[in-house]
């Protein structure tokens, strides 16, 4: 049995770790990691696991390059995602290409997994544009900055998929801070009421800028699902195999008309919130240290799993490392050579059918630029 059959096959299974009829929870141990039996059922091949490893290594290298570019003054901002590699890569690769993803602003690795050019994405952080890809081309919505507000967008889109009788699942990413917002709770409720095919993925990294988990969330995020009448699981978000298997099963659950599913993926934000943040004011190195352990590092942990399967060798690592270097260099090259559009282009993206008044304003602006250039 493959992962894709897991949700269905296990639907008849008894109570889960979170209570209720929750077959996916039955695959997990008390730490939110796939059990031996769960791993057998998930049936993730060595090749798939190597692909997950490869994308995590690339994602981490791109993150480092993004940080470097910001520190070198080439980007206005960078939001590191070290610690999120398993959650983002595992989730993105678990979704079918016909599915949709609604990311939050930190889901850079998801975008890369979807095939979006990372150098192009960086033009947003270089201040060249607000929109760097066509969502329809990649089935990947834009990054949303107001926290939690993308969650009901995914629900609306998923309701549309349902009304169009499509077999499409919609994954929405957010941090644990987003779960404090009204929009998040409203979206959870709407998803339950409309039985929308949504997979809610909480990337709980335990910090919302400086506010720690225990000052942010009363109770547990995962337990919210029961209140809205659908299942949820809390998983170890540093284990890419678990993330991949669980998201795959949850997406199938949604796609097949069983309604929404909540996944709380717990890991740790290893870096500042963004390059504008100073974590020394609110946490110590000792707080972060346990998460540097190779059993908690998403990339190292995946390597361990590959070694256990005898699917990890020097040439594979060398090839992946080499590819990551090349992609980082290409990303740098792309963003640094990206040319800004003509300033008046900002007028052309406000409306699909712009009123004459706006076009006149654009033309006046363009004329004033020309005049300025002539002086």
């Amino acid at each position: 049995m493959g992962v894709s059959d897991m949700a269905k096959a296990l639907h008849a299974r008894p109570q889960s770790q979170e209570g209720g009829d929750n077959p996916i929870a039955a695959l997990l141990d008390e730490n939110g990691v796939l059990t031996v039996e769960g791993e057998r059922i998930a049936d993730v091949s060595d090749e798939q696991l190597r692909e997950l490893y490869r994308m995590m290594v690339i994602a981490r290298r791109l993150d480092q390059e993004g940080l470097n570019l910001q520190r070198q003054g080439e980007l206005g901002l960078w939001g590191p995602y070290v610690g999120h590699e398993a959650a983002q890569v595992g989730a993105a690769l678990a979704m079918e290409t016909t599915d949709w993803i609604f990311p939050y602003y930190r889901d850079f690795a998801m975008a890369v997994c979807r095939g979006i050019d990372p150098g192009g994405i960086l033009t947003i952080f270089r201040g060249l544009t607000h929109g760097a890809w066509n969502p329809y081309e990649y089935r990947f919505a834009p990054f949303i900055i107001p926290v939690g507000t993308q969650v009901p967008h995914a629900v609306g889109f998923a309701v549309g998929c349902k009304f169009d009788h499509e077999q499409t699942a919609v994954l929405v990413g957010f941090g644990e801070g987003a779960t404090s917002t009204g929009d998040w709770h409203e979206a959870m409720n709407f998803a339950g009421v409309f039985q929308a095919p949504v997979v809610f993925l909480c990337e709980n990294n335990q910090w919302a800028i400086s506010v720690p988990l225990n000052e942010q969330v009363s109770g547990r995020v995962v337990d919210r699902a029961a209140g809205y009448g659908f299942p949820g699981v809390r998983i170890d978000g540093t284990d890419v195999l678990t993330v991949y298997a669980v998201v795959k099963a949850a997406a199938k659950h949604a796609r097949e008309g069983n309604g929404p599913f909540l996944i709380e993926s717990v890991s740790y934000r290893m870096q500042p919130h963004t390059t504008s943040d100073d974590p020394t004011r609110y946490r110590t190195d000792a707080d972060v240290e346990p998460w540097r352990d190779k059993d908690k590092d998403p990339v190292e942990r995946c390597a361990t799993r590959l070694r256990q399967r005898n699917a990890f060798d020097e040439s594979f690592v060398a090839a992946v490392t080499q590819e990551a270097e090349e992609r980082a260099a290409a990303m740098r090259q792309t963003v640094l050579t990206a040319q800004p559009a003509h300033p008046e282009s900002v007028f052309n993206m406000v409306f699909a059918n712009p009123p004459a008044a706006l076009l006149r304003e654009r033309d006046e602006f363009a004329a004033s630029l020309e005049q300025g250039g002539a002086e």
């Binding site: 544009t129 607000h130 929109g131 760097a132 890809w133 066509n134 969502p135 329809y136 081309e137 919505a141 834009p142 949303i144 900055i145 107001p146 507000t149 993308q150 009901p152 967008h153 995914a154 629900v155 609306g156 889109f157 998923a158 309701v159 549309g160 998929c161 009304f163 169009d164 009204g182 929009d183 409203e186 979206a187 409720n189 709407f190 009421v193 900002v346 052309n348 993206m349 406000v350 409306f351 699909a352 059918n353 009123p355 004459a356 008044a357 706006l358």
Partner: protein, 324 residues
């Protein structure tokens, strides 16, 4: 059709849009069996089913966000806010997401959606049911904001709003829901960015929209009996403003009064007056007058008529600018 109300005209516009395009959907609080608190969706769920016309949970932010998501999926959502002040929880979704989504996707995603909001006072309501929130919306780039003043305009503007590829805030003057008019249907959609000269005159231009158009017409009628010839322009579109039509009118009359229910302070009258002053400085015979609410929360209904524009207040303003 003879003697239909504005509420019925809106209902018919929705009906015809739902019939024409199976990706038009209509939703909000109580819009299903009840037909909405103003009965604008009366009978539509029965006719088109629960996937076309449906109730939502009581949560305006996600009503707006649902419209965004469904528009992105290719639907043409028409979302109903129950009352003006109840649209405020959706403000973040409207201003930060809906208004900016086309820009945020470099033009790839259209926000072909309509958010209908009953607005304005003069219905003897309790607090929160009589507000004029138009300035909040017109000040947000990326939105088109329109408001009808008659049943026919209501039908034709809503038809246009639903067909348009951009987000439209559709403000319905609730005090005029029961206004009746003969309307030939189906009527062709109106442009979303044009004002309408509803009465011609020589001595001054009354600039009104939504609920105050009838008030301005009543003032013009009264003015005529007193020997004053007043032109009345119905803005129809609040964003953008059709300044061409306003300039043409005021160039002729050389005097203008802007009339709205919203507070005068930073109301639409401020922008209109500033633009006319700038563009027609040499033509104007007097400063532009503005009539609207005081800078107060909407008053208790017992006092509302003291703060709402009426013919007398308009004609007093006309006297001031004629004697200037």
């Amino acid at each position: 059709m003879t003697g239909i109300t504005m509420g019925k005209a809106l209902n018919l516009a929705l009906h015809d849009a739902l019939e024409r395009d199976d990706h038009v959907v209509m939703f909000g609080e109580d819009v299903g069996k009840l037909g909405g608190v103003f009965r604008v969706s009366d009978g539509l769920q029965d006719e088109f089913g629960r996937e076309r016309v449906f109730n939502t949970p009581l949560a305006e932010a996600t009503i707006a966000a649902l419209a965004l998501g469904m528009a992105m999926k290719g639907f043409r959502p028409v979302a109903e806010m129950q009352f003006d002040a109840f649209s405020y929880p959706s403000f973040q979704q409207v201003t930060s997401n809906i208004a900016k989504y086309h820009t945020r996707t470099a033009g790839a995603v259209n926000m072909q959606l309509v958010i209908r909001i009953p607005y304005g006072g003069n219905i003897g309501a309790i607090e929160q049911h009589s507000e004029s929130p138009e300035t909040y919306y017109v000040h947000t780039a990326g939105l088109k904001v329109v408001t009808p003043s008659t049943p026919e305009d209501a039908y034709r503007l809503l038809a246009a709003a639903i067909q348009d590829p951009d987000p439209v805030i559709f403000l319905e003057p609730k005090a005029r829901y029961w206004m009746r008019q003969d309307v030939e249907l189906p009527a062709i959609p109106l442009p979303l960015d044009r004002a309408n000269v509803v009465r011609e005159g020589r001595d001054a231009t009354l600039i009104a929209y939504g609920p105050t158009v009838q008030t301005a017409l009543a003032a013009a009628e009264q003015g005529e009996s007193e020997g004053v010839s007043l032109e009345v322009v119905d803005l129809r579109s609040l964003a953008p403003l059709d300044m061409d039509t306003l300039r043409t009118s005021v160039r002729k009359t050389r005097r203008a009064v802007v009339v709205h229910e919203a507070p005068v302070f930073m109301g639409l009258g401020a922008e209109i007056a500033a633009q006319l002053m700038h563009d027609l400085f040499d033509v104007l015979e007097a400063p532009i007058e503005r009539i609207g609410n005081a800078t107060i929360p909407y008053p208790p209904s017992r006092f509302e008529k003291l703060f709402l524009p009426d013919a007398d207040r308009i004609l007093e303003a006309v006297d001031r600018i004629r004697e200037y």
